[in-house]
Each structure stands twice: as C-alpha cells, then as structure tokens.
Symmetry: none
Subunit: 276 residues, 2 copies
Amino acid sequence: MLAKIKAARDTLRKSEQKVADVVIADPEQSVQSSIQAIATLASVSEPTVIRFCRALDCVGFQQFKLKLAQDLARRGTFFYQDVTVDDSSKELANKLLDGAIASLVQIRNQINEDQLDKAIAMYEACERIELYGSGGSAVVAEDAQLKFFRLGKPAIAYSDPHIQHASAALLDKNALVIAISHSGRSSDILKTVEIARQSQAKVISVTATRSPLAQVSDVALTVDVNEDSDIFSPVKSRLGQMVVLDVLAVGVAVRGGDHMLEQLSRARRAIDFKFV
Amino acid sequence: MLAKIKAARDTLRKSEQKVADVVIADPEQSVQSSIQAIATLASVSEPTVIRFCRALDCVGFQQFKLKLAQDLARRGTFFYQDVTVDDSSKELANKLLDGAIASLVQIRNQINEDQLDKAIAMYEACERIELYGSGGSAVVAEDAQLKFFRLGKPAIAYSDPHIQHASAALLDKNALVIAISHSGRSSDILKTVEIARQSQAKVISVTATRSPLAQVSDVALTVDVNEDSDIFSPVKSRLGQMVVLDVLAVGVAVRGGDHMLEQLSRARRAIDFKFV
DNA sequence: TTCATTATGTAATTTTACTACAAACTGTTA
DNA sequence: TAACAGTTTGTAGTAAAATTACATAATGAA
C-alpha cells in the first residue's frame, strides 16, 4: 500500500499529492487520524482525502486506513535494508532475500481481484497472445510465453521495439497483448500499445499503478515495488511481474477445469524432464 | 489481539462474550464491519460492543479494528497450499504468492556462505563469463547476463545446447561458466559443463543440492524449492535462481567497494530510464 | 424483600465519512 | 485574448457511524 502510494504519487492530482506526502511522511500517524486531521495537515479539503483513497482503489477512507494499517503491520517481518560494504556475504544474502520477500508480500496484498478476473476473461475470449517487454522485462515476457503457450493458444514474445511495432500493427480484435514494463513510462512500449489498440487488439499491462501504460490498457495488473535498494536492474519488480503472470496463467488454467490442470501437469513433467 | 480476545473471553461479561464469539468466528468480516453490524450479529446493543473494545484496552472501536486488522495481517504468513478449481482469483493469487514467498524464505535459510564467498572470488579471478541455461533456465541466464555485464567483464548467455557445447569448447582457464538448471540432471547441461571443464574453465552451478550438476561444479549455489504445487514451469525455482544470482552479482559489486556501487547505481538509472 | 451493585439497553449527541454541487482553475480553439 | 469545455478543488449539506449520558434491568447480599 505504501509502495503503491509512492508509485502513484506522481500521477495524482496536485492536492492529492499533498495528501500522499502527508501519509508517506508519517504513515503510523495517518493510520490513527480522521479524514479531517489529514485534510488539515495536507491543507486540502476533506473530499480530496477521500478522492485520494479512491485513486488508490479503495472504496473509502476506512478501507484505506485498514489496508495501510495492515501494510505497516507486515513490514518489520521482512524489510528492506541497504547493503553496505562491510556486510559479510551471509548478511548480504539475507538483506537481499528479505527485500525480495518483502516485495512479494507487498504484491500479495495489492492484488486487484477485479482486474485479474477481467484479464482471465480476456484470455478466454482471445485467439492469440503477444507479449511485449524490453530490456529487463524481455526476460519476463519470455518466461510468460513459456507458460502461455501451454494453455492452448499461440503465444509469442518480442523484445525488440521495432518488431513489436510491426507486429502490433498486424493484430486484430481477436489478439491479446500483454505489455510488460516496470515503470510503464517507456515511450517504446507506449507506442507499441497505441498501435496495438489501433489494430483493435485487447491490452493487458503488467506495470506500476496508474502509470501511463496502466492507463492506456484495458486491464492493468499492477506491480509496485520499492526499488530503492536495488543496485542493478530491478530484480524485485522482475520477480513480481513473473509471479503476477504466473497467477494469470494458473487462473486461466483453473477456469479451464480439472481436465486442463491435469493435462498441464502431464505436459510439465514431460517438458521439464528434458529441458530444465 | 485475536489471542488476547480468546484469552480474555471468559473474564468478560455475558453480552461482551457474545461479541467476542462473533469476532472470533470471523475476524476478517469483523474488521470490515461497523459497530452496528457487529452488535446485530451478536444480538447486543452498540455500547456493549464499545465496552468490549475498552475491555481489551482499546480506546474505542476504531482502534480495536485497527489492531485486529494488523493482527490478521501478521498471522498465518505464507505456506504452500494447493490451488483448487473453486478458488476465487483472490484466493488463487494469495496461494501462489504465498508459495513463492515461502520458497524464498526457504532459500534464505539455506544460503551457503562458504560457497557464495568462493563464487565471488571466482568472479574476481576470471576474465569473462558464460551463462548456460535452457528452457526455463534460459530466462534466468539472460537476466543474469544483464546484471553481470555491468560489472565490467564480458558476459554472455546461451540457451541452445549445441551452441553451449561449441562455446564451452573454446573456453580457457580464465573463463567462468555459470550453469543454471532446476533439476541439475539434464544431460545437455551436464555435457556442456564437462566440455567446459576440459577447457579448464571454472564452473559455478545454480541448481538443486547434490544434483549431478552440483557435483561436477567447482562451486554450487543451491536452490531447493518445493515444486509440487507448480502447475507450469517451476516459477519458484526460477525466482530463487534469479535472486541467488542477484546476490552473487551484488556481492561482487560490494567487494568492488563504494566506488563500484556508485558507478553501478548511476548506470542503472541511465539504463532503466530508457529500457524498463 | 429491599437495597446496592453491576450489567445492559435506549436515546440523544457528537464526530466522522461521504455526496452533491458550485466555484476555480487549466488548457484549447476561434 | 475571449470564450469554452473539461478538469480539479472546495463548500455546504447529509447520512451514518461512534460515542456519551442516562435509564432500566438483572444480580446478589443482608
């Protein structure tokens, strides 16, 4: 939740940002405050606070406070810690693992059931799938391709933006695009999605809450992660994206009933034996 | 909090006990209810509910709900559960995420510091790196390539076993191979490693404990994960492998001192901005 | 049975969250 | 730059929730 606020902060309206800042500055305090108190602190009106909550997919202020409270309760179990030069490799490993775990916990608490259901329905309705991701997200797209092509519909992943553009232009209304991007701001992916939509294709994005990419997609599966402590590529969001796509794929499989599940597990044994 | 309610339950007054029973019966529901709703459910008056909260050392109903919510958030964290056909997408997502989290916790608890230190030393001693992984592990190898090539030495990932063989044959004693395989039993990867060792290259494997691959490597970074519940490709071991390789890369970077870390974080910002 | 004490409920009050609408601001077209 | 549409924000009112004060009922000891 807190990560979600941070991620969404820049896409909020000006006065809502003030609210976000107040909450980020002292979440423990916010959780105990009334709308009025927060509104005063942020120098905005009370409805603005409610609008802020709604922008974060909460039905109201109470739910927002509840989610925030739960978020606060959970951190402390595994939490982010910066790596320092004096760390032993054991400490280093623990810190990094803790960070990764914490981010998955965060994602777990953020899953939007509604969007997920829609995404599953979109898969069921489509005839083929294209996965777009560049740079680090290319890895995720490829991983997802491995999953999706076992579900019975053609699935292909492209990492080169030029090829993405070209391929997106050739889609039709029976195609489903899954666009993967950590920030959701890369102009390449936005352009690709724009082209895909012109081709009438449906678009699911796996990206940050309220990012430009999320906003131009039919369905957004959001992955918000605190990347401050990542030195390299954003491993944590990578992991999050992979798991979210796994959830989608399993969701599709489960809707297909027992039969499909069994078939898949047989396929898995056969393939894994050879490849992994 | 929930424990507190249970403990206090018998010392409460009769009608407060009714409230306690309602809360214990369905805490998730209670956390979202109003005083009125709970009062009705327990067939008591609203002030009784408040008295119940006060009896539990809360200043009011709101604080009680908050504490209960935090309690709920903390408890029962993360264990494997099989997905069933009747699961809602929310349940499904939670089960899968929990499984993934549990597996990272497991990896965290079994990191072998000694092997990790050796691996870091081997990186420092080598001149170039080759990453081998096929099928699902190809994704991990690619991801690792992205990390390692920023550390200053050439790094390249191959997924095609034939090319792996050919490339391994051309290595020398200054080369470092990182071989990735979930099972550590695929004959392709074993053959590749055998060739690499004949070429005098050093070998780090990222695979299951005591697997054939682990046994023929100079250093084995082990990733053991309960895959029973994975329907598709082994996501969990995939995640584990990625994190373990991240640990290795960060470890290398940290040994390079503050200077290297800073340089990397600058590089990251530049690259991420464009690519992710 | 009566009285004191405790427990519970009723009804009023206050606080809080939320809604509807209007004003103010932003940016765009003529 | 004036007029406009669209968006953002605030004002004022409303509904609902939590809380209080007080009354009534239950309990139990003398």
